[in-house]
């Protein structure tokens, strides 16, 4: 999995672009999907880290999280959401997320969360 990409899953193209630009300097391969279905149908090596939105059409982020954990158990999932209820954070972490980042986020915060996930 060492050559797996960082996968950005968000229905908002603007957020995907922003995350891509924030992570571009880190040198990791990046891939994108606009919903959970598309994310899970990607071929190639399993992603090392998934940045996952929670509120998406087609398949919710929580459902995608469960399926990603099932299919790629070694993949770290960082939830990125504007919904900052503490109880939602707890439920996302209990469902297998490695971290929860609330929007708006800062580039350094994203970069350091991804590096920590890669190191864990």
């Amino acid at each position: 999995m060492s050559d797996g990409p960082i996968l950005i899953v968000d229905d908002d193209a603007f957020v995907r672009t922003l995350l891509r630009e924030m992570l571009a300097d880190q040198g990791h391969p990046l891939r994108e999907a606009e919903n959970g279905h598309d994310a899970l149908s990607l071929d190639g090596p399993p992603p090392r880290v998934v940045l996952l939105d929670l509120f998406m059409p087609e398949m919710s982020g929580m459902e995608a999280l469960a399926l990603i954990r099932d299919r790629w158990p070694d993949t770290r999932v960082l939830v990125i959401s504007s919904m900052d209820s503490e109880r939602l954070v707890d439920e996302a972490l209990a469902a297998g997320a490695s971290g929860y980042i609330t929007k708006p986020f800062h580039p350094m915060e994203i970069a350091s969360a991804v590096e920590r996930a890669l190191d864990s």
Binding site: L18, M83, H106
Partner: protein
């Protein structure tokens, strides 16, 4: 634990989550337009078919109650700010006394996020907006202070407090303690002219020499804005005098990966900006992309109007060049 899936008007789905989470999100105004509900993620119905969800929606705070609750939150934020002022920074950020600047920065971003001004809804109580803004500014200035002290190798000290703040009388909203402000600036608003109407300025005898003393932006230093599909292109002529756009603002400066452009025009928070810096004296052009992270449309009289941008993309080589440019101009 009961599980719920919630759908909104845009077809987005959240779930499975507990009813407690739905309640949190409804009560804080994060979920306002629930159009469908499911208990298994497959069979959906209108909210009316789920009495427990309808109860939440019907009991959602009224606009007045929300405003009242925001006043309460504003008071709590003030209290928190008061408690932070004068305390050693490592205690505020819950770090070891000898923490590295990176550890401080990480802790700063975590803590300051709570007070981002754009976390407040548009119709929020003005007290809450002010309290968030003050807390945000306090932490931002504190981080700049930490950066400075650690860069010269001294132990981080608290930010000086202007005056002690007595506890507010019950139920009374008291203004926050003034945060030590930077030296007053006499920045004059800059007129912004569409690029199409403004030829690229060149140094010319017709351009009056920049006055000595405190810096003020001159119209000829600025080239213009150009709106594109999803972003704004800003072209700025950088001179020795206006290089302070990279250093003066405590939050938006080169050390925090940004700059503050003092001008009459402001761009809304979050705007994606393509920036072209033209360094006339060095005959160099630097291109970068950033996002507007703060704006001052006159609400903060201690600072000039304008907007601050944080870089999203800036090539290391360009960053070094800009840093050297700033250092060189500061030395003169």
């Amino acid at each position: 634990m009961p599980e719920y899936w919630i759908g909104d008007v845009e077809g987005r789905v959240l779930g499975p989550v507990s009813l407690d989470v739905v309640q949190d999100l409804v009560n804080t105004g994060r979920l306002t337009e629930i159009t469908r509900v499911s208990r298994d993620g497959r069979n959906w119905g209108t909210p009316a078919g789920f009495p427990e969800v309808m109860t939440l929606l019907l009991n959602a705070p009224s606009p007045d109650a929300l405003l009242q609750s925001e006043r309460g939150e504003a008071a709590r934020v003030r209290e928190q700010l008061r408690a932070m002022q004068g305390r050693p920074p490592h205690e505020i950020f819950r770090l070891d006394r000898n923490a590295s600047v990176d550890a401080y920065r990480n802790a700063f971003f975590k803590l300051v996020k709570r007070f981002y001004p754009d976390r407040v809804r548009a119709q929020a109580h003005p007290d809450l907006r002010k309290a968030y803004s003050d807390a945000f500014q306090f932490l931002s200035r504190l981080m700049v202070h930490i950066d400075k002290e650690l860069s010269i190798g001294v132990t981080v000290s608290p930010l000086p407090v202007v005056r002690a703040v007595p506890p507010p009388p019950p139920g009374e909203d008291e203004p926050l303690t003034p945060i030590p402000a930077p030296p007053p600036q006499t920045a004059r608003p800059l007129s912004v002219v569409p690029r199409s109407m403004t030829p690229l300025p060149r140094p010319s005898p017709l351009v009056p020499p920049a006055p000595e003393g405190p810096y003020s932006y001159q119209p000829h230093e600025f080239v213009g804005f150009e709106r594109r599909d999803d972003r704004v292109e800003v072209t700025i002529r950088v001179t020795a005098r206006n290089s302070r756009m990279f250093t003066d603002h405590p939050l938006a400066n080169l050390k925090t990966d940004g700059f503050f452009l003092a001008c009459a025009k402001s761009l809304p928070l979050g705007t994606l900006v393509d920036v072209i810096f033209r360094f006339d004296e060095e005959r160099r052009e630097v291109r970068s992309r950033g996002r507007v992270i703060l704006e001052n449309t006159g609400g903060d009289p201690t600072r000039p109007s304008g907007f601050g941008v944080r870089f999203i993309t800036l090539v290391d080589q360009d960053r070094r060049f800009m840093q050297q440019f700033v250092e060189k101009t500061a030395a003169h």
